[in-house]
Amino acid sequence: MSGLTFTLRHAPDQRLDLSGLTASRLAGLGTAAIAALPIGTTRAGLKVGDIFAVTGDDVADIRFVGGSERFDRIGERHAEGSILVEGDVGQRAGRLMSGGTLEIRGSTGPFAGSALSSGTLTIMGDAGDDLGGPLAGEMAGLRGGTVNVLGTAGARAGNRMRRGTILVGGAAGEHAGARMIAGTLVVGGKAARGAGTLMKRGTIILAGGADATGPTFVDNGPADLLIFRLMAKAFAVAPFPDALFDGSPMRRLAGDTAVSGMGEIFLPLG
């Protein structure tokens, strides 16, 4: 068996809904049946075969050769096996994932890893807004698993996350970790203003510093915590070329006291 491969024939002329191309949805289908699946989002009735050349048969090892910011909902509800995209994708990549791995060797649109509950989503480029966040009306964002972003993240990374880990190698946009319920968000670069706004519990480590946090965060002073060392060691793994932080003491801000005040933001000393 060889990995199921979707090779992009030409740039799509409309947004694509690729949520059907996961192991559980494709199991038992032959190449011809897969090529006949609908992926269009307009009246044109686009099929997989119109956009991709399909080869291979192992649905546990799916590969997209080529990408586009019009690749929406890739790996949605992905539960087992691996999906690799050699290019950019659009919105909602890995949304509601519950297992397996999804690797994007490019950048993503908004809502990547939205409400992901288990498994690992890795974005080698930049992530758009609302990384791991909930769609409108949902109570929680990330519920478990791990999201790695090598590049930057847009606004509201980790919005309403309640479990799991988000690691961002580069900078983060405004309101990183806003309304966090629990979990761990690490930003290697600088975080824009408003990090942790209205967070209830959870841990935000801003290793590259941050613009102003809200006035309802309380400075606890320097904290030399063993958990830094364990996290630094656990997070210093692929795909990050360098450790996001080194485990040394950091300044602790408790908050957001506008809500329960049980959360924490860590900033570099000084």
Binding site: G164, L226, R229
Partner: protein
């Protein structure tokens, strides 16, 4: 009784009889070895025998900073109980009173067992609502605010039902100093066996016991057959040349570990020789009727 003689030391044709136990392991770290030992000695104190202590515990080995999760010096502690529930209760109680309280300490899982039992899960409510749960890298930790700063404790550790308690060696010597020298040699050798502990003080017990006694309610009483001052007045197994007896009791995470510990202990005493140490080595059993694990000295002799 046919016996082997090695380097002048007589090895009785008998066996140690041991019992299945539940075993768990933890790793305790601290800022330096002084405070590692403070926590470890406190936690494993009064844990010599399940007869009255509720568990048997000891230090398996010291860990270098490279071997511990947080890069500080540490120690691996093994704790054994007669039942999983009793073991968990003892572990959590000792964790709360002896590790949590000890300056700079942290506690991690120290055994990959078939089942999990509580560590931090069992004491987190001490934090009165301020405890912080952290799950990453497949592990679960509790961060507990304390006056010193923060106590970090893994949520669970592994427990094995395949542990064995009660492996033992008896060193029969001309006098107490020779018996002690033999026991010390054996203790030093057995410390190098990973997964085995000797729960008695310094690894040695001088008051080995038999089951029951003449007084009502006594679960154990002195092993009069091995008491040198009772030669002639009781059914003694000591010859005229024996003036003192010491015992080592061994608990291990598997039966193989206990056998290995007894083997290296026996070798150390044989290497020491009869002039300096034990004249005779024996082992304690109950006729083979009680414990499923039998360790025959003739199979372990060097």
């Amino acid at each position: 009784m046919a016996a082997l003689i090695r380097n002048g030391v007589t090895i009785d044709d008998t066996f140690a009889e041991a019992f299945p136990m539940s075993g768990a392991g933890i790793i305790v770290t601290a800022v330096n070895e002084r405070w590692v030992m403070a926590a470890a000695l406190s936690m494993t104190g009064f844990a010599t025998s399940v007869i009255a202590c509720g568990c048997e515990a000891g230090i398996d080995r010291m860990l270098s900073p490279e071997e511990t999760p947080d890069g500080r010096p540490g120690v691996r502690i093994l704790i054994f109980g007669m039942s999983p529930d009793g073991l968990e209760k003892q572990l959590v109680t000792r964790l709360g009173q002896c590790i949590l309280t000890s300056p700079s300490s942290a506690c991690y899982a120290g055994l990959e067992g078939e089942t999990k039992i509580n560590l931090g899960n069992g004491i987190r409510y001490f934090s009165d609502g301020w405890q912080i749960s952290k799950k990453f890298g497949g592990r679960h930790f509790w961060r507990m605010p304390v006056m010193e700063g923060e106590f970090l404790c893994e949520a669970e550790t592994g427990m094995t039902g395949k542990a064995v308690g009660g492996g033992n060696l008896l060193f029969l010597a001309a006098n107490a100093s020779h018996a002690l020298r033999a026991a010390e040699a054996a203790v030093d050798a057995i410390h190098k066996v990973e997964g085995a502990i000797m729960p008695f003080p310094g690894g040695v017990v001088r008051s080995g016991s038999k089951i029951g006694g003449k007084y009502k309610g006594m679960m154990a009483s002195t092993n009069d057959a091995f008491c040198p001052t009772l030669k002639g007045v009781t059914n003694s197994v000591l010859g005229p040349e024996i003036g003192s007896v010491l015992e080592i009791v061994i608990d291990g995470v598997t039966s193989e570990v206990v056998a290995e510990a007894m083997r290296v202990g026996l070798k150390a005493v044989v290497d020491l020789g009869a002039e300096e140490g034990a004249l005779r080595v024996s082992a304690g059993n109950y006729g083979g009727q009680l414990g499923p694990h039998h360790y025959h000295l003739k199979d372990l002799a060097p």
